[in-house]
Symmetry: C2
Subunit: 316 residues, 2 copies
C-alpha cells in the first residue's frame, strides 16, 4: 500500500490546475448568525462536472504515461466519480470505460456518455459488478481508477484543502462529509503538513454511520445495506482512507435524515447554490453541536451539485 | 427630471464598494453547447440580500447627508427593493420604513424585519398604498427611494455592468430582464459611455410585455393586470427608465411562461445556482433566437436569488 505524500499532492495540484476550477468560497451572514460560528463554504459543486472528484480523477488521468494513456482508464461507479473520470479522460482525449448497475438513474449514464465515456451495465450486485468490471478491463486494458482508495485520487482531492486555506487566510476547523473517505483523506494529507493546527471533522449520516463506528472501534466496520438521502456517502472506508482517517481526523459527527434535509434547504436558500444532500451533512452536524463550533472559523467543503431537480427531499 | 451621468455611476461605485459584493461570473460548457454562444452569467443573486437592488439602494442610503440620514429612508415595495433598502439602511444604522400590501408573503416581511426595516401594511391597491405611504413618510420624514425611477438607484445599478465588462474582458451583448427598467437603465448608462459597441438587449415575459410594446410604439404603455411567474417584472417603465430604454436599448425579446420555467431549471441544473424566475428570461429568449446569438459573447445579469423553495414552478 503506497501512502501518498504531501509532495504528491503538490505535484497533483500543478498537474491538474489547467483542468479544474479554483472554486470560490462563499459565506452567509444568516448562517453565521444562527450557528454562532464563522462559516466558509468551498463550492466544489461549481467544478465543471459538478463535484470535487474531478480533482482526483484528473490527477490519475494526466499522470498516466503515454503508453497507458492510449488504453485509457476504467472504473465502477454510479456517482460523481464516473462522470468526473469521463470528463478528465475526454480532456486528455483517451478512452474511459465505466461499469454501472443497470438500475442507476438514466441521467447519470447520460452524463458519462456526454463526456465520451462508455457505460457497460451490470446487475446491481457486487458479484456482477466485479465480474463485469474484470471483463471490461481485460478487453480494454484501461487503468483502474478506484473512486477513493487510490493514492493518485487522494493526492488529487487534497488540492482542495490547499486552496481553501489560502482563500480564507486560515481556519480553525475543516469539515467534509465522509463516505469512502477520499476527500477527508486528501484533506488530512494536506493539512497535516500545511496547517497541522487545523482540526479535521468528518460528518456522516446516522443511517450510514460506518465511518463513525469504525472511528470509535479502531478498525473498519462496514454498514449492512445503508440507506440515506445522502447517496454519495453509502460506500465503506478502505485500507488507504482508513490510514488517514484513523491517524488525522479529530472527530466524526453524525446527523439524522431530517437534519440533513433541513441543512440542505437552508444552504440552498441562504447561499443560493444547488448542492447535493451529501454536502449538507457538515452543516447539519454543526447546527446540532453549536457549542463546539461557536466563535470558530469553520471551512465546509461543498462536495457536489448534481441533483435531480424533480425530486427535492423537502418536498416529499 | 435629473438624468444620472456616467460620473454619477463612477461615484456610486466608489461609495457602495464596501457594502456590496463584486459578484462572480459563471459559465457552463453545456449551456454554451446548446445555445452556440459564449454565455457569461453575472451572479447578482450572490449579493448578501440576494439581489442587484442592493447596489442602487446602497447608493441612495450612503449618499444622504447626515441630517437626512437621521430620518432614514422609506419606500413601497413587496420585492427585493424592500429587503435591499433595509439591508443598506441597517449598514448605515438609519431607519428604513417600508409599505407593503398585507397580502405580501410573510417571508418577504420577515426579511425586511430581519434587517431592522419597519413594515407598515396597506391594502393591495394603488390607492391604499399611496395613502399609507404618504402617512408613513409624513410621520417619519424618511427620504423616498423609488425602486427604479430614481437617478441614485439607476447610477447604483449601473455599477454591475462596469464590473461585468472588466471581469469578462469585453462582451458583444449584455442582457437583463426588464420590469420597471432600473437594471437595464443602469446598464445603458454605463455601457453607452464605457463600451458603446456592446448591444443591450432586454428580456421580458410575454405575459407582462409592456416594455416590449412601449419600445415598439415609441411611448410608455402600461400592462393591464399582468400575470407571470417572473414576479419581479410586473411593474411598468417610468419617465427616467423610459429615457434610457428608448435611447440605448438595441432590442427587447420576449418568452412564454413555459420557456422561462425551462430556462430557469436549466440554469439551476447546469450553473448550480438558485435564482428567481425573472433571472431566467434572458436565457429563455436566447434559446428561442439562437441564430441571433450564435458565436457571440453574451453577458447575462442574474438579477436575484430570493426564491420560495417550497413552490418550484417546474414541479407544479
Amino acid at each position: 500500500m503506497y501512502i501518498p505524500t504531501y509532495q504528491d499532492m503538490l505535484e497533483a495540484h500543478e498537474r491538474i490546475m489547467p483542468h479544474i476550477q479554483r472554486t470560490p468560497v462563499r459565506t452567509s451572514d444568516f448562517l453565521n448568525e444562527i450557528t454562532g460560528a464563522d462559516l466558509f463554504f468551498k463550492c466544489e459543486n461549481f467544478q465543471t462536472p459538478g463535484a470535487f472528484k474531478v480533482r482526483g480523477a484528473s490527477n490519475a488521468v494526466f499522470g498516466l504515461d503515454d503508453e497507458q494513456a492510449k488504453l485509457g482508464v476504467a472504473t465502477h461507479s454510479s456517482g460523481n466519480h464516473a462522470s468526473c473520470l469521463s470528463y478528465a479522460a475526454s480532456r486528455r482525449g483517451i478512452p474511459c470505460n465505466v461499469v454501472m448497475p443497470r438500475t442507476a438513474p438514466q441521467a447519470k449514464k447520460d452524463t458519462v456518455a456526454r463526456y465520451g465515456g462508455v457505460v457497460t451495465e451490470c446487475d446491481p450486485s457486487t458479484t456482477s459488478r466485479e465480474e463485469t468490471f474484470a471483463k471490461v478491463q481485460a478487453a480494454t486494458g484501461g487503468d483502474f481508477v478506484h473512486p477513493y482508495n487510490d493514492p493518485r485520487v487522494i493526492a488529487g482531492q487534497g488540492t482542495c484543502a490547499r486552496e481553501f486555506i489560502e482563500q480564507t487566510d486560515g481556519l480553525d476547523i475543516v469539515m467534509a462529509p465522509i463516505g469512502g473517505g477520499g476527500m477527508i483523506s486528501g484533506t488530512c494529507l494536506t493539512l497535516s503538513n500545511q496547517a497541522p493546527e487545523v482540526q479535521i471533522i468528518a460528518a456522516e449520516p446516522e443511517q450510514a454511520d460506518d465511518a463513525y463506528r469504525s472511528f470509535k472501534a479502531g478498525y473498519i466496520i462496514a454498514d449492512d445495506a445503508p440507506k440515506t438521502i445522502a447517496d454519495g456517502l453509502l460506500v465503506p472506508l478502505k485500507n488507504l482512507t482508513w490510514h488517514f482517517v484513523s491517524k488525522h481526523v479529530t472527530d466524526i459527527l453524525t446527523a439524522s435524515e431530517d437534519e440533513i434535509i433541513a441543512a440542505m434547504k437552508l444552504t440552498w436558500k441562504h447561499l443560493r447554490i444547488v448542492m447535493e444532500a451529501s454536502s449538507a451533512v457538515p452543516l447539519a452536524t454543526i447546527l446540532k453541536n453549536k457549542d463546539r463550533f461557536a466563535g470558530k472559523r469553520v471551512g465546509i467543503i461543498i462536495t457536489g451539485g448534481n441533483v435531480d431537480l424533480d425530486v427535492l427531499p423537502w418536498l416529499k
